[in-house]
């Protein structure tokens, strides 16, 4: 047994140690409360239970709450994520949302939850025809902004924000901002994911010079990895692909920067027009005309020795008209934090894209392909490149193109027609390095063709003809948009709506931009040309039709605009 003095001595030691404990705890507390160790958002996950703010709030079951409070926060987050995955795969998309909210509160540094959650919100809620529910863009972007605020020095979510703005929202300026921030905040960012996308975003935002500078920077970064003796072979493999891609893009941009100055003039008149009909309640038929001209054949060359640019131009397929129906005056709000994953059921937004097809032309003395009654006939790729189009019997009659087969019309071929004929008869071998026959070659090949009865018979059998007239047909678009199948998404609860039809050159394919320019420098229109100064003087086509609720939900067929 201890003596009294020994006991007192030990109690004195205890008192000193207790004071030491208190002092230590006072020093530990500020380090422990830093967000890197103890994120403040955990309290929201717990507060969601305590506050009982209705079904909109995420709430932890008691056993998960206990686990969270006793140091198993990230285990709980992991279990919830596994559960979320099973909800997703079983198609229970609505159940995924509160889980994402809870997990990002429990573990605000788990990047994948933010990126997957934002992807889920922005891409997976669709109507019956797979059109995205654009009301979810706001919470999706807010979730990414929240994730960035919690993980400022890691590039991943900057990349996600950049991509979502690039691909989904089509807000290229915001994409550029996000990606530049990612580059700056995380010097160890992935060059391909951030750098390449930034270059594309700069181009799409109407800044080709910025895009060129970015491609140069990206190529340099990849080269640095290739030259680094410590880089692993896997890293070098990825850098090789990235370097080659960057160099190729750089070549394309630099050459186009030079050749487009001339190729985009004079501007092409788009002759844009749209007709909208309500054919049933909440079902619209949208049709219209867009004269889209692009490069059928293009000579690239190199930046040091640029090619000729557009060799053959003509009407092309493939560009898209954007159609958007929304509540009048609707504007997407940008929030810094995802306060709610519920969307406003009274808001109506529908967005879709309509492909333009069917533009064609033929001049007197050129070749065309007679498709007979087949409206969907195709033309060999080899002939498309030299501006040969197909015409149905009705179109041949309309444009008075005649019925002269190639073998009988050789003498009536124009210079363009002769080029088309020799290309059809004697295609240039793949990999020859030549795009088109030059003038002397055309003459020689024509002499050969005139003597080649067998070849001429072969070409006649393919319905190749010589045009006696001129024909030009604008591209058209047509789609039926049925919003009646998704009343939850299209509530039509407001009185007025805007139907916005637009064509943005910055989202057009390269072969179209080769003729109309990056920002529509080579585009004009009699009625619907708009110059958007806030977007680097973007010249685009835009038609806005104001509709009432009755226009959209009334019964019977009604033309809402246009002449038909």
């Amino acid at each position: 047994m201890f003596s009294k003095s020994q006991r007192q001595g030990l109690l004195g030691v205890v008192a000193a140690l207790v004071a030491g404990v208190v002092l230590l705890q006072a020093r530990i507390d500020p380090l422990r409360r830093q967000d890197a160790i103890e994120p403040k958002s955990v309290q929201k996950a717990i507060g969601g239970v305590a506050s009982g703010q209705g079904a909109n709030q995420a709430a932890l079951p008691f056993e998960y709450l206990l686990g969270t409070l006793t140091g198993f926060r990230q285990v709980i987050a992991g279990l919830l994520w596994v559960r979320t995955d099973s909800f997703f795969h079983s198609g229970n998309y609505d159940a995924v949302l509160p889980m994402i909210r809870l997990i990002t509160w429990l573990d605000p540094n788990w990047l994948d939850v933010y990126s997957t959650g934002a992807w889920h919100l922005m891409y997976n809620f669709t109507d019956t025809d797979q059109r995205s529910d654009r009301r979810y863009l706001e919470p999706g972007l807010a979730l990414l902004d929240e994730g960035i605020a919690n993980n400022q020095h890691v590039y991943d979510l900057y990349k996600e924000k950049g991509w979502n703005n690039f691909d989904k929202v089509k807000d290229y300026a915001t994409a550029v901002e996000a990606l530049q921030a990612g580059e700056k905040q995380d010097p160890n960012h992935d060059v391909t994911q951030i750098g390449h996308l930034l270059a594309h975003s700069l181009e799409r935002s109407g800044n080709p010079d910025g895009a060129i500078a970015q491609w140069e920077k990206v190529a340099k970064s990849h080269k640095a990895i290739l030259d680094d003796p410590k880089a692993t072979s896997e890293k070098k493999g990825r850098a090789t692909q990235g370097y080659n891609s960057a160099r190729e893009n750089l070549k394309h941009m630099k050459v186009r920067r030079i050749v487009r100055r001339e190729d985009t003039q004079p501007p092409v008149n788009a002759h844009f027009d749209v007709t909208v009909r309500r054919i049933k309640p909440k079902v619209l038929e949208i049709s219209g005309v867009l004269n889209l001209v692009g490069a059928k054949e293009f000579d690239m060359g190199t930046p040091e020795n640029p090619g000729q640019g557009i060799l053959v131009e003509g009407p092309v397929d493939g560009a898209r008209v954007d159609v958007r129906l929304q509540d009048q005056g609707y504007a997407m709000k940008r929030q810094k934090e995802m306060t709610s994953f519920e969307v406003d059921p009274s808001v109506t937004i529908m967005q879709d894209q309509l492909s333009t097809r069917g533009g064609k032309m033929v001049k007197k003395g050129s070749m065309f392909v007679a498709h007979g009654k087949n409206a969907y006939g195709s033309v060999e790729r080899n002939l498309e490149r030299v501006g040969v189009y197909g015409f149905t019997d009705d179109e041949v009659a309309k444009f008075k193109l005649g019925t002269v087969p190639l073998s009988k019309g050789l003498g009536q071929l124009s210079a363009t027609g002769q080029l088309q004929a020799v290309t059809a008869a004697y295609p240039l071998p793949f990999g020859s390095g030549k795009k088109l026959y030059d003038a002397s070659e055309v003459a020689a090949q024509m002499a050969k063709l005139r003597r080649d009865a067998k070849k001429l018979a072969e070409l006649d059998a393919k319905n190749y003809r010589v045009s006696l007239g001129e024909g030009y047909q604008y591209g058209t678009f047509k789609r039926e948009i049925d919003m009646s199948k998704d009343p939850g998404m299209y509530s039509f609860s407001k009185d007025k709506y805007e139907l916005i039809l637009s064509f943005n050159p910055r989202t057009a394919p390269d072969f179209v931009q080769d003729r109309i320019g990056w920002s529509g420098e080579g585009l004009t229109d009699d009625n619907y040309l708009v110059v958007d100064k806030e977007r680097n003087n973007l010249r685009m086509l835009r038609k806005v039709i104001v509709l009432t609720k009755d226009d959209l939900t009334g019964s019977g067929v009604k033309t809402l605009t246009g002449t038909k």
């Binding site: 705890q25 830093q34 890197a36 198993f72």
Partner: protein, 262 residues
């Protein structure tokens, strides 16, 4: 002191033969291995899940082992009357208690070390196969913090076992463990309260109840992009805290046991 070491060694070998403790250990190891079944996820997500689950399983298994071992060490000896045999030899009461405590923390150390080594090696192999940067050995920091938390938990359970039955001790220890993990909340309550008495009450709770929440260090290990300020200082202070607080509890236990009738 060599007597205490002998008792500690015997305590460890007895504990390692106990079926229930071995069961927790086996379940812990098996569950760690099972977490590698998350292959439906992308590699980075999978790794985050594995790391989080693995550290959590080590912690949970460790808590169960620590509490069940420590609450029974001294009461069992008293109940079986074997303590008389030991104390009738020239073994002083404090040596006996220190030996039992040493055996408890030693057993927990062996269990945690085994689970951690299995876990870290498995994660390292996974990262190597997946072509990712191998940072699995950073997880040992989490294992260290878990061990120090359990070190303190063992000390608390042994201290309380001097006064209470094992059943009461079980719930009391776990309750204090939960309260100790709520230290951020008690600190906030103390800070934000307008009532002076309430303020002092929660301040006392915050500083006097063992702060088990100090040892929750998984966030930077699961999310390598997170930057921790003064990491080394934080870890060292926590280790010292656990040792000093355990010293308080064991000295008080020694003093109490010295006067306890067995």
């Amino acid at each position: 002191m060599s007597t205490a070491l002998v008792i500690a060694r015997n305590t460890i070998s007895e504990a390692l033969r106990r079926k229930i403790l071995n069961a927790f250990l086996m379940v812990g190891v098996a569950t760690i291995v099972l977490t590698f079944a998350f292959q439906a996820f992308q590699p980075r997500q999978e790794l985050t899940l594995i790391k989080g689950m693995g550290l959590g399983i080590i912690s949970l298994a460790g808590i169960l082992i620590s509490v069940i071992l420590s609450i029974n060490l001294i009461p069992n000896e008293i109940e079986r009357r074997t303590i008389y045999t030991i104390l009738s030899k020239p073994v002083r009461r404090y040596e006996f208690l220190l030996g039992k405590w040493g055996g408890a923390v030693g057993t927990v150390f062996l269990n945690i070390a085994l689970m951690s080594i299995v876990f870290v090696i498995a994660v390292a192999i996974k990262q190597q196969i997946g072509g990712q940067d191998v940072d699995a050995f950073q997880l040992l920091k989490g294992a260290l913090m878990t061990y120090m938390q359990l070190f303190l938990l063992c000390s608390l359970a042994i201290f309380l076992s001097i006064f209470t039955t094992p059943l009461v001790n079980f719930f009391l220890t776990l309750s204090l463990f939960v309260i100790g993990n709520l230290s951020s909340f008690t600190q906030d309550l103390a800070r934000n309260s307008q009532n002076v008495l309430v303020k002092y009450f929660f301040t006392a709770i915050h500083y006097l109840v063992p702060n088990f929440g100090n040892f929750q260090y998984s966030n930077p290990l699961l999310n390598p992009g997170v930057q921790v300020q003064n990491e080394a200082l934080f870890l060292i202070q926590n280790v010292v805290y656990a040792v000093v607080y355990s010293a308080v509890l064991i000295i008080l236990a020694v003093l109490a046991f010295d006067r306890r009738e067995v």
